[in-house]
Subunit: 199 residues, 2 copies
């Protein structure tokens, strides 16, 4: 689950956080997003609502996107690492869960805002790129487990496959097509996993 990894990522930022203030800031940020969407979201508005100083927020989250990513991750409650014993089925569950999660709640729009931010703000780009790398490791576990079972060859690059699936999901989200037919997603994963070249 994404939230289990958060403390690890935070440690790398360096600045020590006060858990109560951190909680107040993340809650304020989530409430502002839920009430007013991305348009209403600013570090200033979060600081006011959380009764925190802007410098404190910036010390812990170097960009608006970094704060958004933490809010987003806390709300991430879908099945990101299924383990059915079959790699194709696991990856299909992952892709379908991710897109449903984006399509059905506010999180899809939050993540779209983060990606949009990253196109003009280098700090946001760095936060997004680090986040995506972290997610590839996480999704790659599905493939590494299949390698341990002998279902997938050892030379398969788990990170590249995880990136392929994530890229497909991002493409759907960013074109307004997160709400995808499950059987189409299963077919997409089948092709990624089983290949298309005639044996």
């Amino acid at each position: 689950m994404a939230s289990n990894k958060a403390p690890e990522r935070r440690a790398s930022i360096g600045a020590q956080r006060n858990p109560a203030s951190e909680e107040a800031i993340l809650t304020a940020a989530a409430e502002i997003l839920a009430e007013g969407g991305f348009g209403a979201f600013s570090i200033e508005a979060v600081a006011r609502r959380a009764k925190a100083g802007k410098p404190t927020i910036y010390r812990w989250w170097p960009s608006k996107a970094a704060l958004l990513l933490d809010v987003y991750q806390r709300q991430k409650t879908f099945d990101a690492q299924p383990d059915t014993g079959d790699v194709e089925r696991d990856l299909a569950i992952f892709l379908k869960s991710l897109l449903s999660f984006w399509a059905e709640g506010p999180q899809g729009n939050i993540f779209r805002s983060i990606i949009a931010e990253a196109q003009s703000d280098p700090a946001a780009e760095k936060a997004l790129s680090d986040y995506a790398a972290d997610r590839r490791i996480h999704t790659g576990e599905i493939i590494r487990r299949a390698q341990e079972r002998g279902q997938v060859p050892a030379e398969t690059d788990a990170s590249l496959l995880a990136e392929t699936i994530a890229g497909f999901a991002w493409g759907r989200l960013l074109t307004g097509n997160a709400n995808s037919p499950p059987e189409e997603l299963e077919r997409a994963v089948h092709q990624m996993v089983a290949g298309i070249i005639r044996p």
Copy 2:
């Protein structure tokens, strides 16, 4: 080549265009982007420079993103449909050419701006989604040719594979990683095409 397809797409918009004005508008838009980037780009600025009316521009391009997409497509000069006789090699050339094209000139940033626009403007989202669908047909031709040769089974969904490759490329671009090692891209395409399941 992308520009060959443009008249077809334009016909579907419905409003008849005056070729000289259209040329002036597209040239003005490209110059503004080259000089000031996306921050300097607005329909107003394009109208002023092209000596055209804003209503004319909006009649031909329903959103800023639609105009940006036409500018972007006119500058697209990479090898989008290689034909070496081998589907894996063709798709690898396509992916490497696309990412180099994005990394080496201003077009990567233009396309990033279009995607960012599409995250908050429904007209931009529609323009991007239509554009992506059109590109899938175009890239899918590589796979359909391989199906005619018998290299790829008839039941392979060419559009889904084209979408998979495009999604991978978008992910690299949007995280600031368009400048990718060619051998990594080749490995990614190899996995997409040859599959990962142990036979």
